[in-house]
C-alpha cells in the first residue's frame, strides 16, 4: 500500500466518522474545547451548538478532548496559537491554576443572578452547572446507608474511590475530608482506609465495580441517581446524605486570552448560563443548572440536596492541593 492510498484510506475513515458540516465562509467560527462526553451526541454539546448558532450568526465548533484537564493542557501547550475561544468543564479545584496560568481573560458576564450553592463572583471563570460529590449505593443491597463520613468509617462496608492524582471526584474527596476534618484529615483517612476496597484511576472504573455488585458504595455525584431514573427507570440507586455536608463539584467556563473574537466568546458565556442552554443541562450532563428558572425533571426533586455545601476558595485549593494529595498518599500507602 502506498503512502498516498494509506492517507486516503485514513482520511476516508475520518470522513466516515464525521461528515464535515457545511460552513458559510464569512461566518466566524467559535471553537470550544471541552471534555468529549460534553461534546458528544448524547451530551449537551449539540443542543447548545444549535441554540447558539440560531442567534449568533456564527459557526460553533466543539472539540472534545479526553478530559477537561486535557483540554486545559492543550490550550496551555498551544499558547498564543490556540484555536480555542472558550474552555468548558474545569472544576473549582483547578480554578486557581486556570487563573494563574494567564491564558484566560474576563468573561464579563453577570453572575449575580445565578442559582449557586455558594457565593461566586469570579471575573474569569463562570460556573455553568454544579452538583455535589456523594457516595452512592443500591437500596436493594444496602437499605440503610451511613449518614455521615464518620458513620461510613465506622461501618463494615466496602467502598471504592478514585485516585486524586488522576480523577476529579478523587480529588474532590480529598478536599471534602480536608474541609470537614482540617488537620485531622490523616486520622480520618486512617480510619476510612479499611473500608476502601480499592482505588481506581477514573470514575468509570469505580462506578462499574459498584454496579457489578463488587462494592457497597462508590464515590460519585448526588446527581448520579437521576440518570438511572430518567434513562433506565431504575429507582434503587441512591446517594447517601452526609450530615457533615457535601463537597461541591462545579464546572466552569472561561474565555481564552488568545481568542480572536473575545466578544463572540463572551456572548457565548452569556448564552451558556442563560435559560435556554441551562434547560439542556440536567438530562444531558446530569448536573444541576445554574439558572433557577429552569424546570427540573421530577427525578431531580428526589435527589439529595445537602444542607451544607463545602468548598474551598479556588486559591486555597490550588495552594494546598499537592500537600493534601501527598497527605492522602502517605496514609493510603502505609
Amino acid at each position: 500500500m502506498s503512502i498516498r492510498t494509506l492517507i486516503a484510506a485514513v482520511a476516508l475513515g475520518a470522513a466516515l466518522t464525521a461528515p464535515a458540516p457545511a460552513t458559510a465562509a464569512d461566518e466566524p467560527v467559535l471553537t470550544i474545547y471541552t471534555y468529549d462526553s460534553f461534546a458528544s451526541e448524547w451530551g449537551p454539546g449539540p443542543v447548545i451548538e444549535e441554540g447558539f448558532e440560531a442567534v449568533c450568526a456564527c459557526d460553533v465548533k466543539f472539540v472534545g478532548l479526553d478530559t477537561s484537564i486535557g483540554a486545559f493542557s492543550r490550550i496551555r501547550l498551544e499558547g498564543e496559537g490556540t484555536a480555542a475561544d472558550v474552555l468548558l468543564g474545569l472544576d473549582v479545584n483547578l480554578a486557581g491554576d486556570a487563573r494563574a496560568s494567564g491564558v484566560f481573560v474576563e468573561h464579563g458576564a453577570d453572575l449575580a443572578g445565578l442559582d449557586l450553592p455558594i457565593a461566586w463572583d469570579d471575573p474569569v471563570l463562570a460556573p455553568f452547572d454544579w452538583g455535589h460529590f456523594a457516595f452512592v449505593h443500591d437500596t436493594e443491597r444496602l437499605a440503610e446507608p451511613p449518614g455521615s463520613l464518620e458513620a461510613l468509617a465506622a461501618s463494615d462496608l466496602e467502598i471504592v474511590i478514585q485516585d486524586p492524582r488522576s480523577s476529579t471526584p478523587g480529588l474532590g474527596l480529598v478536599m471534602w475530608v480536608r474541609a470537614v476534618y482540617g488537620d485531622a484529615a490523616p486520622d480520618y483517612w486512617r480510619r476510612l482506609k479499611p473500608r476502601i476496597l480499592t482505588v481506581t484511576k477514573g470514575w468509570s472504573d469505580s462506578y462499574a465495580l459498584f454496579l457489578e455488585g463488587e462494592a457497597d458504595m462508590a464515590l460519585s455525584y448526588t446527581t448520579s441517581p437521576a440518570y438511572h431514573m430518567v434513562a433506565e427507570d431504575r429507582h434503587n440507586i441512591r446517594a447517601a446524605a452526609f450530615e457533615e455536608g457535601h463537597y461541591l463539584q462545579m464546572e466552569l467556563a472561561a474565555v481564552t486570552a488568545a481568542s480572536d473574537q473575545p466578544e463572540l466568546a463572551r456572548r457565548f458565556i452569556e448564552y451558556l448560563i442563560g435559560p435556554e442552554a441551562q434547560a439542556a443541562i440536567p438530562t444531558t450532563n446530569w448536573m444541576f443548572p445554574v439558572n433557577g428558572q429552569v424546570e427540573l425533571p421530577d427525578a431531580f426533586a428526589t435527589l439529595v440536596r445537602p444542607e451544607r455545601t463545602l468548598a474551598f476558595a479556588a486559591d486555597e485549593a490550588a495552594a494546598n492541593r499537592k500537600a493534601w494529595i501527598q497527605e492522602w498518599l502517605e496514609v493510603m500507602g502505609e
Partner: protein, 538 residues
C-alpha cells in the same frame, strides 16, 4: 547487497527510536529542562519505582511459569487445533482494553464474583476482598501475559526436530530428562526475549495496577507520570519521569540481552514430536497438565468468558443503529488494516536488517548494532503514551494542523505499539530462510524484489499472516495518544468504550467491548488467512 538489506530496517529503526527520543526531548525543552538527579532523591519516586520493579518482576515470573506449563500441556496433549486455539487466546488477551479485562477478572475473583458465589453455595469461605492488592495485580498481568508466553514457548517446542523426540523416546527419557535435554535448550533461546517483552508490558501498566492493586500503595511510575503531565502540568517532571522509566526498561532489556537468545524459534514440523514424546503417558505429567488446565481456566479463560457473557447480556442490539458506533467501527477497521500493512512492512525491514546484523562479520554482520534494532522494536512499550502524545503535539504544532493529523498520529502510535510483536513474529523464520537459501540465491543471482517475491514472502507468509493479524487486532485503536488530539471527529471503538463507560452507559460499554473482541477475532480469521495463505495459523 548487504547495504540494501540493512538500509530499510535501519531507517525504520532510527525513525522509531528518533521519534520517541524527539517527543520526550520536545517535552523537556518546552519545560525548560529536565532534572533527573532531583527525581532520584525524591522518596515518592523511589518508592513508586521500587514497587513498579517488584510487581513487574513478579508478574513476569508468574507469567513465565504458567505460560511454560500451558505450552507443555498443549504440546503434549492438544495437537494442532489446540495450538491454534492457544494462538487465538494469546491474541485476544493482548488486545483487550485493560479496564475491561479487569472487570472480567473481578467478575470471577471479586467479592461478588463467580468464585465467591460458588464458595458460598458450598459453604466455604470466599475470596472476600482478598483480590485487591498484589494478588489482583499479578492475576491481571498473568491474564494478559501468560497466554503470550505460552504461545511463544509452544512455538519453540513445536520447532524441536522430530529426531530429538525419537531419540528421547528411544532412550526412555522420563519427564525430567525430556525437560533437561530436549525442551530446555529450545526454551532457553526464546525465554529472555519473551520475559523482556512481558516485563515491559507489566512495568508500564497503570489503570489495572491501581484498580486491582487496592490503592495508591500499588502505584507504578506511569501514575506519577500521569499526575505530573496532567494534574500538575509539570512537564519537566513528566519528561524526567519518562526518561527514568525508559532507563529502567533499557536496563532490564540489557540484562536480558546478555543471554544468548533468539525470540522466535522458527517453524516446527508440528506433529510427530508431540505424538512420540515419551512423557505423554507419565502419571506426573498428566497430573501437572490437568492442574495447569485448571489454573489457566480460572486465570485466563474464565475472565474472558465473563466479559463475553457480560457483553451478550448488554445492549448489543441497539449498537448497529447508533451512528457513533458505526463511525467508530469503520474508523477502527480502517485503522486496523492500515496499521497492519505498515507494521508488517516495517517489521519485515527491521527483521531483515536484524538477521543480516547477526550474521558472522565476514558475511556482513555487525553484532554490535543488533541492540539498536532491538531497541527500535521495543522502545515504544516503555514510552509513556501521554508524554509521547504531548511531545508529538509540541513538534507538530507549528508545522501542521494537529486536528487534521489526529488519525495519522493515532495510526503512527498504533504501528509503533504493534511493531515489537510483529518483528518477533517473523524474525526467527526470516533468519532461518536466510541461513538456508542465502548461498543458493547469491549463486543464482536471485536478489532484490525477485528474492522477496520468490523466496522470502512464500517462506514467511504464514508468520507474516500472524503478524498482520496481530497488528490489526492490536491497532483497532490504542487509547494512549488520542487524548490530546481532538478526538470527537475520529473516534475508535476503544475510545467510544471509554466515553460510554464514563457516562453511566456501562451496558453499552460492555457491548462495545464484546464487539472489540469479535473484531479482533475477525481480523485473525480473515487477515491471517489472506496473508498467510492456506496453511495460516498452523
Amino acid at each position: 547487497m548487504t547495504a540494501a538489506r540493512l538500509a530499510p530496517g535501519f531507517a525504520a529503526a532510527i525513525l522509531a527510536v528518533g521519534l520517541a527520543g524527539a517527543a520526550i526531548g520536545a517535552v523537556g525543552i518546552w519545560a525548560g529542562g529536565v532534572d533527573l538527579s532531583a527525581l532520584m532523591r525524591d522518596p515518592y519516586v523511589r518508592g513508586v519505582t521500587a514497587f513498579t520493579f517488584r510487581q513487574a518482576a513478579l508478574s513476569t515470573v508468574l507469567s513465565l511459569v504458567l505460560g511454560l506449563a500451558v505450552a507443555r500441556a498443549v504440546h503434549r496433549r492438544a495437537g494442532p487445533r489446540g495450538a491454534r486455539a492457544l494462538n487465538l487466546l494469546a491474541s485476544l488477551a493482548l488486545v483487550m482494553p485493560t479496564t475491561v479485562a479487569a472487570l472480567g477478572i473481578v467478575a470471577v475473583w471479586g467479592r461478588a464474583g463467580w468464585v465467591a458465589e460458588a464458595a458460598a453455595a458450598l459453604g466455604l469461605p470466599g475470596p472476600e476482598g482478598g483480590l485487591y492488592g498484589l494478588p489482583g495485580v499479578l492475576l491481571a498481568h498473568v491474564f494478559f501475559n501468560a497466554p503470550l508466553m505460552a504461545r511463544i514457548f509452544h512455538a519453540a517446542l513445536a520447532a524441536i526436530p522430530d529426531g530429538r523426540w525419537r531419540l528421547a523416546a528411544q532412550l526412555g527419557f522420563a519427564e525430567r530428562e525430556v525437560w533437561r535435554f530436549v525442551e530446555w535448550p529450545a526454551i532457553r533461546r526464546v525465554a529472555p526475549g519473551a520475559c523482556g517483552l512481558v516485563f515491559l508490558l507489566c512495568f508500564t501498566s497503570f489503570a489495572l495496577v491501581l484498580m486491582l492493586g487496592g490503592g495508591p500503595a500499588a502505584s507504578t511510575l506511569e501514575v506519577a507520570i500521569y499526575e505530573a503531565a496532567r494534574l500538575e502540568f509539570d512537564l519537566g517532571r513528566a519528561a524526567a519521569l519518562s526518561i527514568l522509566q525508559l532507563l529502567c526498561c533499557a536496563a532490564v532489556l540489557l540484562v536480558l540481552a546478555r543471554f544468548p537468545a533468539d525470540w522466535s524459534a522458527g517453524r516446527g514440523t508440528a506433529g510427530l514430536g508431540a505424538r512420540i514424546r515419551p512423557d505423554r503417558t507419565a502419571r506426573a505429567a498428566q497430573v501437572t497438565d490437568a492442574l495447569t488446565g485448571l489454573v489457566a481456566a480460572g486465570v485466563v479463560a474464565a475472565p474472558l468468558a465473563a466479559n463475553v457473557l457480560g457483553g451478550l447480556r448488554a445492549e448489543l442490539l441497539g449498537l448497529p443503529s447508533d451512528p457513533a458506533f458505526r463511525g467508530a467501527l469503520a474508523a477502527s477497521v480502517v485503522l486496523g488494516l492500515a496499521s497492519s500493512a505498515i507494521t508488517c512492512a516495517l517489521a519485515w525491514a527491521i527483521a531483515e536488517a536484524r538477521r543480516t546484523l547477526v550474521l558472522p562479520t565476514r558475511m556482513g554482520g555487525r553484532p554490535g548494532l543488533v541492540g539498536l534494532v532491538d531497541l527500535a522494536s521495543t522502545i515504544y512499550l516503555a514510552v509513556p503514551a501521554i508524554v509521547f502524545g504531548v511531545g508529538l503535539f509540541l513538534m507538530l504544532r507549528g508545522v501542521a494542523d494537529t486536528f487534521a493529523l489526529a488519525p495519522l498520529l493515532v495510526l503512527a502510535a498504533n504501528v509503533l505499539l504493534a511493531l515489537p510483536f510483529a518483528v518477533r513474529a517473523i524474525q526467527g523464520r526470516l533468519a532461518e530462510i536466510g541461513a538456508r537459501y542465502d548461498r543458493l540465491c547469491a549463486s543464482l543471482g536471485v536478489a532484490g524484489w525477485a528474492r522477496l517475491r520468490l523466496v522470502e514472502f512464500p517462506a514467511i507468509r504464514r508468520e507474516l499472516g500472524f503478524a498482520a493479524a496481530l497488528a490489526a487486532a492490536l491497532s483497532v485503536g490504542d487509547l494512549g495518544v488520542i487524548a490530546l488530539f481532538g478526538s470527537d471527529e475520529f473516534r475508535t471503538l476503544p475510545w467510544l468504550l471509554y466515553l460510554k463507560s464514563g457516562r453511566y452507559q456501562s451496558g453499552e460499554a460492555a457491548a462495545i467491548a464484546l464487539v472489540l473482541l469479535a473484531l479482533s477475532l475477525a481480523f485473525f480469521v480473515v487477515i491471517e488467512r489472506l496473508v498467510g495463505g492456506r496453511h495460516a495459523g498452523r
